[in-house]
């Protein structure tokens, strides 16, 4: 299956090759912040991640003359970014166990604690919820969109293991497609989904603890 670049992408690449500053600026605005977020999977400090992203852009400029347009420009840029980040991480001896990205692990991580469900042997309600999760639709929208809520979400993301943090940041925060995420991180569709599931479950739980302090377990 040959890759067919969009007209916009072709224009951007041509622009870069011609030394057009507006093309470069456009590209930077499109991707830089995502690149910092992805770099943070490998190097964890935001300041270092920023340096890595800057270094990656230099790599993009150095290599654009050889870019063969066989993959999307975005994929190519993020491949440079990942390589730059990994090299930097190794130099600083901060290796993330990349295996964490490959196989989410055989250990079962239930999304919801087992105590919230009635025993399967229960005479009348086997396996039912002991107490229903509350409906968040009742909550005022300002509460859900408030600054404190956003901070809780950011904290929850920051507390996630690297692989889960990567997937949820790219899929749900940055809005990438699952295909783009799998390409960027080098994981299978299934693994990506498992990581996403675990990440979302943890963020949901953090939100629940904040939004319903009395009700959560």
């Amino acid at each position: 299956m040959t890759y067919a670049p969009s007209r916009n992408e072709t224009r951007l690449v041509d622009g870069l090759l011609a030394g057009d500053e507006a093309s470069f600026e456009h590209l930077v605005r499109m991707h830089h912040e995502s690149m910092v977020r992805v770099a943070q999977i490998y190097v964890s400090s935001r300041a270092v991640a920023e340096e890595v992203a800057q270094e990656a852009w230099l790599g993009v400029l150095a290599g654009i003359g050889r870019f063969e347009r066989r993959s999307s420009l975005k994929t190519w840029i993020f491949r440079i970014l990942s390589n730059t980040a990994k090299t930097r991480a190794e130099r600083e001896r901060r290796t993330v166990p990349f295996s964490a990205l490959q196989s989410p692990g055989l250990l079962q991580e239930p999304a919801v604690e087992p105590e919230r469900f009635l025993d399967l042997e229960h005479p009348r309600h086997p396996g039912h919820w002991t107490a229903h999760p509350a409906s968040w639709r009742e909550l005022p929208e300002e509460r859900l969109s408030g600054r404190e809520t956003r901070k809780r979400i950011e904290d929850a993301i920051g507390a996630l293991p690297a692989g889960q943090r990567a997937v949820i940041s790219l899929r749900d925060v940055e809005g990438w497609s699952s295909e783009e995420v799998c390409n960027a991180l080098g994981v299978s569709e299934t693994n990506q989904r498992v990581l996403l599931h675990r990440a979302r479950s943890k963020v949901r739980k953090a939100l629940e603890q904040y939004l319903e302090p009395e009700g959560s377990s």
Binding site: L17, A18, G19, E21, F24, E25, V28, R29, H32, E33, V36, E50, Q54, W57, L58, L61, A62, G65, P110, A111, V112, H128, W129, H132, P133, A134, S135, W136, R137, L144, S145, T149, R150, I153, E154, I168, D172, V173, G175, S178, R193, L196, H197, R200, V203, R204, L207, E208
Partner: protein, 74 residues
Amino acid sequence: MELVTDYLEGALGDEERERFDVHLARCKGCRAYLDQMETTVRLLGRLPASALAPEAEQALLDAFRDWKTTSPAT
């Protein structure tokens, strides 16, 4: 509840999805849980996108100009 993400991703087979839907219709707890997950995803998508710092942008533009003048192709 482990199937929630597969469900939202459209990764369940037809039969599984149907069973999931049937269960949802009868179980208020699971409906609320699904709703919470959807709300979580929605809120994640609305996290403010960090703005590119002007110094960072300037540094990159400077690098671009350097590259332009030293690169043989342009």
